[in-house]
Amino acid sequence: MTQQSERGAQSQPMTRPLEGVPLPELERVPDYERGFWEGTQAGELRIQRCSACGLFRHLPTPMCPECSSLDYEWTTVSGRGFVYSYVIVRHPVHQAIREKEQTPYNVCVIELEEQADLRICSNVLHMAPEDISIDMPVRATFVPASDDPGVVLPVFIPVAQS
């Protein structure tokens, strides 16, 4: 279901995360979210997991939505998954994206292999937007945000399909 760009030509792939966009203020994020960012700083994708029933969850929350346990741990996952859905943003809505001419860019919802419907929002790098497709396998990699190297962003790159 890939849509062609307006010009019918291939757009440039993203090679790094967006610059100049709002970032999390790590000193202020709640305790139940901090493990995610500590994981990316260590080059790992850590997802919150219920200590009682083992359910992974993202967005992070204080309580398990299934068994109501307040106990959780941060579990390093494989970083492998597939593109569940995506958009190609062609019109900038943020000043830094407009001024730095960062369109087009993609935003992808990645479903992680560890659990059905376990998804995170990210970008797919090194692939023209027109070539991104649903179900495409990807794996995580980690890039410090250019505006705050303390914030390390998980992004995804395509895995060659066998």
Binding site: P24, H58, V107, R119
Partner: protein, 396 residues
Amino acid sequence: MTPNIIPADTNGIRDKAAIVGIGETEFSWDSGRSELQLASEAIKAACDDAGIAPQDIDGLIRYDMESNHETLLTQSLGIKNLRHWESVSYGGGAGNAVVGHAAAAIAAGYANYVVCFRAANLRSGVRLGRARGPELIPGGADSFAVPWGSMAPAHRFGMFVRRYMHDYGATSRHFGWVAVTLREHASRNPRALRRDPITIDDHQNSRMVVDPLHVLDFCQENDGAAAIVITTAERARELRHSGTLTLIEAAAQGSGPRNDGIIYRPDLAVAESEHTARDLWARARLDASDMDALMFYDHFTPFCLINLETYGFVPRGEAKDFVDGGGNIRFDGALPTNTHGGNHSEAYIHGLTHVQEAVRLIRGTSTAQPPHKTINRALSCSSVAQLSGAVIIRRG
């Protein structure tokens, strides 16, 4: 499971309340006046339509995004004894829900005349389609989306649309027929902001903003206000529109799991408002075949298809065929849909104009009044991907 706790025949508001007045300001790109001014003008117009004075109002229900709080309005409108007030959360999600709350307040006897309203400078003031919020995010859903560029409603809803297209085979061209039809309706409506007719090719050739959404898939961002006056069915018989009662037959709100941030919902191609639809039909003891018209919340055109399926007008996956060519959803078609032009072409007042249009259809005063059938019942339903509301308006 929670849904089964509510008995199917629970409908404490059935026909207890009536919409007796509708009013609005002009819709514009720059109103040139305050949101309090807009609210006051729209509420006065709705009171004039009802045949009551603003001072008669004793209940106010606003959207929680609304800047006009109760004290501002009691001051401006001259309300002497406000007995009941509420704010309902979300933008589009509060659409229709405010009317359901008003009907409940009337049925409970909390107030005599309840006004629902929305007034905002959503174009000349803070635009919802622009990135907003702090440059440093203190956690929460935005902190897991904005750093990757998911910053605007179209980015989140576009994920829904893409997945829906993938799972059910709908294409941009199907969305285009919705745009063409809504614009045709707006071309007949002097209130509408966008009145120049468009073709399916205009839609397909329009600028791609957030692929898969063209610019002609988007609603307007505009200034303006709308208001609705609701009172008891008995009192409605004494007022200006006593010849055509427009009763609130049933209302529902609904949400599903994991809806913070939209994209984490269990099946992103299925509308969260399936919960709203299920409860609405159970309470009303009706189904889609009983509706003569559909007013759906068109923040983006694809949600016409998704609403048609969610509320059971067509089986899941078949809305693309139903909207193809536009004939079925035209004002003179099988299911007159957004005959005012909707958020897409009339104006974006967070769904309140859709309830107003349902009232006009029942009164017979729409500018795109269906020539081939009497509108006895209309469904007005709000956003499909977040907490949502719906009401059934019927001829009394």
